[in-house]
Symmetry: C2
Subunit: 598 residues, 2 copies
């Protein structure tokens, strides 16, 4: 039996057939890699995810972190799993050989991360945060900072956090108040409170490197006055050894409905006015640095949501195949045995819906990861620019669509289990609770929508949007003569036209009345998401037809991809027209309503 | 400030303006009632719900029932709340004055139940189950059974359960195996296992009256061989006093994601072959009896889901009005103060969506409750029949639509709260977990869909379906000359036509290929749900325009109803065409797929 995390043949199909990542090995960065090394990394991830992460997912959910006023207590399996993760090299998977990394493509690394997410998203979150912090220091830190903080993070000796949010400034980073005063030695004294800091305290590593957004005294108001600081939990001596505590105090833990083995913390910086921080890069550039790293964190969230959808689907599928219940409409003889519920049309509907949402999301997220590789490592400059544009415009969709529809897939996984689905005997209710965080953290759906319509669509004179539509039309052109796909290609062309027309109307309005243009931005985000996921399904269907069918498993996979593609075009694509109509009507009601009428 | 459960003015509006339940007082059954007595009952319910139920909702969720091998332990607040509920007369609210009841209309009683559900659905569930069991005994029990079991249930001294489900027979009641052997004294000896029995064990009452479905030895296979039994936890002596334990053993508690203060139990009947049960009514009629009571239980579930949507909405609204965050698109000056998030269009979108789902669901459920009153107590025979037909066809919609969209409303309530939404500091994540049970228990969405399309639509020669469309057209006719509503009336007429056409196609197919007709029954259920909720919104809008506006509160309410009605027609009604098209295509893919391709 294949893995219940994400099926091997599906992951291989998406990477090698749909995305054709073998091509990446032609780039100098990945010259020493090949399908054999990618497969080895994936198998390593399957092994560690299944034996170290999945095994304590239930316990980590049920026994959440406890703060006794001095220390945070976690079940020991969390540390064991993260140690195994680091020992296997995943913390530095994409980093240079010279830094102890594997120089894996992001596409492969993210495929591995999808497995850890499916296995135990609450525990692997510590690693995600550390990687994000490490990447930030790698991109913008000084040589000295890299030696002192980055290297230990890549080795898994130090963990990291991203400390942005403050109680009075959730999505509104312009309102951050944490203050940094320069000291004579070049360091800064920080004072402020941060909230919702995931992984903000624990004893899983020797040290925690907080990447903190703060204002240098006298900096301009708003986002233009935000700087980025390294604030370690323990001071690090010049020889790299861990010294005394810095003035960073855990004010309390936040208890969540999901991701429960991840500590979510309120942190006080400088309660005793002894909190030392170190400026990263130039003053007042903090938000720009953060944004440059945001793509990766947001892909990560989308990928986690996709992974939860995929594993929920496989659990529901296994349950449906083994659970006898009821009889078919045409055969109600009570003396006949009951049939497995997978025989019921409605159960199949719920399964194929999950498959379409989950595998469609996964394909999209891994496509985005491949764009990361191309953006960074392709030698052709124009190709790098094109990949960067595509990544920029896709990021809000990659973050939000899997978060919304992956959650819906998990709701259906519960539904397939009937009454058992909402009990803690089966893992699907946990997937559902875990996944409910994804449409919120790292920027809510509403924030992604403003990013897409308010920034990305019009950026570079619309070049990113044009590049995306050009990619989609390329796939359409490649499918319009394929008998099984021609109708879908035509439907997708119609959808492209609707989205393009709608975008034109909204961009024109954006110039004259930005509030009106942005009033239904979330509907626009969802419409674009449907377009893009329809495109990945057409691309997957085309790849499936291209694949040689040599085994029964191959044949099943091909048939399944065509089935899910058909389903998506039949049931989901028609929603685009409804959304386009609403958007083109430039409805003012959300702006004009009196709040007293709510 | 008005209640955060359900707003008083909204509940009054739905009952008195939309449903015009004052009319019920003209019926002999309710002759002693008036708006004054209804208001008094509602105020009593507000009081008990807010002071006894809402107060321990969080504690009841966090400290779920524990079975120590001998006894089930609950936090003491659960019993205190249920005692207060019984003392206030709600357990017998609709029953005869002679039996100690209040003879309240079901519409008013259900409005009260909505308040308890909004306050603490996990605790009030014990009362719901007891009422359902009591109603079953009232309808079908012998005079002796009523004296011995019903009266103590109405007084709240005994609680009740509905024991249908068995491990091998979830939704498939035909496969129930619990066996009943007749004894010489007219009683039966039962043996079998039941699962998911809510309220199946506890010490909240002197006794528990289990209403158990079982087969009398030698009965026909399938649903035609199921009988209904009273099986008390403690034997009841002839003088009504509680005697020794019956042979009903708690095998274990099931831990759920929601409704956590309700015990969910596995019960073993007759482990020591000493379990005595008493036949209710005639042999082999058990399922028919159950079905006659099912309307009420299913309305109850829909109502609970609607109530959770309404209270989630009010919590989100209060949060949105008080939480400052960010600035509007046209005013990004960081020196300006932040605005309350209710000023953001996307937050308003999430609020009006919740309002439309929640208040639309509540209006629908209370309409169904009014139909119960008319079916039972109207003097005109043809009116009774008509009410019964409407109730029959609406029941699967009343059960399923609020369960699906009420849950969606709660997801949006979380989203409005941002990161706080998924923490246990705010109640919205609990509402969401509680509400996730509603699309499953008392018959899943798929079961409701088969009930609607496979039975109700064609029943009595299509009379129920015709009656429903006639009602909807009556509302349309009444609105088509009202300037503010004419466009919606026209859209609703279009939707009626789509639904009627689709129904004709499906019914024709049902005769030739039932599997094909039923393959997309869940989509049909959802489409009909959208039609019916659109109708309740048009009706509410019409009622709002009819209401005299004498206060600012009145004006806000009218404007709010019109706003939500507009929103529902703008964003939801267009989905009906998408669903109709899918259904009319008679898609075979769910039937023809090979399960290996999933």
């Amino acid at each position: 039996m294949d893995s219940l995390l994400i099926r091997r043949n599906d992951l291989h199909f998406i990477l090698y057939e749909f995305l054709q990542i073998d091509e990446l090995s032609k780039l100098p960065r990945f010259a020493e890699h090949s399908r054999a090394t990618y497969d080895a990394a994936l198998e390593l991830a399957y092994g560690v995810a299944e034996t170290q992460f999945a095994t304590h997912a239930k316990a980590g959910d049920e026994q959440e972190p406890v703060f006794d006023g001095q220390r945070v207590h976690l079940i020991p399996e969390v540390k064991a799993a993260l140690d195994a993760f680091c020992d296997a090299g995943f913390m530095a998977a994409t980093h240079d050989y010279g830094a102890g990394g594997m120089q894996l493509p992001a596409a492969v690394e993210q495929a591995c991360m999808a497995l850890f997410s499916a296995a135990n998203i609450g525990t692997v979150a510590y690693a995600f945060l550390t990687r994000a912090a490490a990447n930030l220091v790698a991109a913008f830190g000084s040589i000295e900072q890299k030696a002192r903080y980055l290297q230990p993070m890549l080795e898994g000796r130090f963990f990291g956090t991203m400390a942005l949010t403050e109680p009075q400034a959730g999505s509104s980073l312009a309102d951050i108040r944490t203050l940094a005063e320069p000291l004579d030695d070049g360091s800064y004294r920080l004072r402020g409170n941060k909230i919702f800091i995931s992984g903000g305290d624990h004893e899983l590593a020797e040290n925690i490197v907080h990447l903190v957004l703060a204002r240098i005294k006298g900096a301009p108001a708003g986002v233009k006055g935000i700087s980025l600081f390294i604030v370690p939990k323990f001071r690090v001596r010049d020889d790299g050894s861990v010294g005394a505590r810095n003035d960073v105090a855990l004010a309390g833990l936040i208890h969540k409905m999901g991701y429960r083995s991840t500590t979510s913390t309120m942190l006080n910086f400088g309660e005793r006015d002894q909190c030392t921080g170190y400026l990263v890069g130039a003053p007042n550039q903090g938000l720009a640095y953060m944004f440059q790293m945001m793509n990766e964190a947001r892909i990560q969230v989308g990928l986690g949501a996709a992974a939860l959808a995929c594993t929920g689907y496989l659990h529901a599928l296994a349950y449906a195949a083994s659970r006898p219940q009821g009889r078919l409409p045409q055969g109600k003889d009570p003396a006949a045995p009951q049939v497995p519920i997978i025989e019921h049309a409605d159960v199949r509907r719920m399964l194929v819906t999950q498959k379409a949402y989950g595998e469609g999301s996964l394909a999209l997220c891994l496509y985005a990861a491949k764009l990361l590789d191309l953006q960074r490592h392709t030698e052709d400059e124009s190709e790098r620019v094109r990949a960067g544009l595509l990544l920029d415009i896709l990021t809000p969709i990659v973050k939000s669509w899997p978060s919304q529809y992956g959650l819906e897939a998990n709701a259906l996984a519960i539904q397939v289990h009937g009454g058992y689905g909402y009990t803690r005997e089966y893992p699907v209710e946990r997937f559902y609770r875990d996944n409910r965080l994804n449409p919120i953290h790292e920027g809510t759906q509403g924030i992604q929508a403003l990013d897409l319509l308010g920034r990305k669509v019009a950026m570079a004179g619309g070049a990113a949007f044009d590049a995306l539509l050009a990619e989609i039309r390329l796939t359409i052109a490649g499918c319009s003569t394929v008998a099984l796909l021609a109708a879908h290609a035509e439907a997708l062309e119609g959808a492209v036209k609707l989205v393009a027309d709608t975008t034109r109307v909204l961009l024109a309005t954006l110039r004259t009345d930005s509030s009106l243009a942005l009033a239904n931005a979330t509907v626009y985000l969802e419409m674009c998401g449907h377009l893009v996921v329809a495109w990945t399904w057409l691309g997957q269907a085309k790849a499936a037809l291209r694949t040689s069918v040599t085994t029964a498993g191959n044949a099943d996979l091909r048939e399944g991809k065509l089935l899910a593609c058909d389903w998506f075009f039949r049931c989901e694509v028609p929603k685009i027209a409804v959304q386009a109509k609403l958007l083109q009507s430039l409805d003012r009601s959300l702006l004009d309503m009196r709040v007293e009428s709510l």
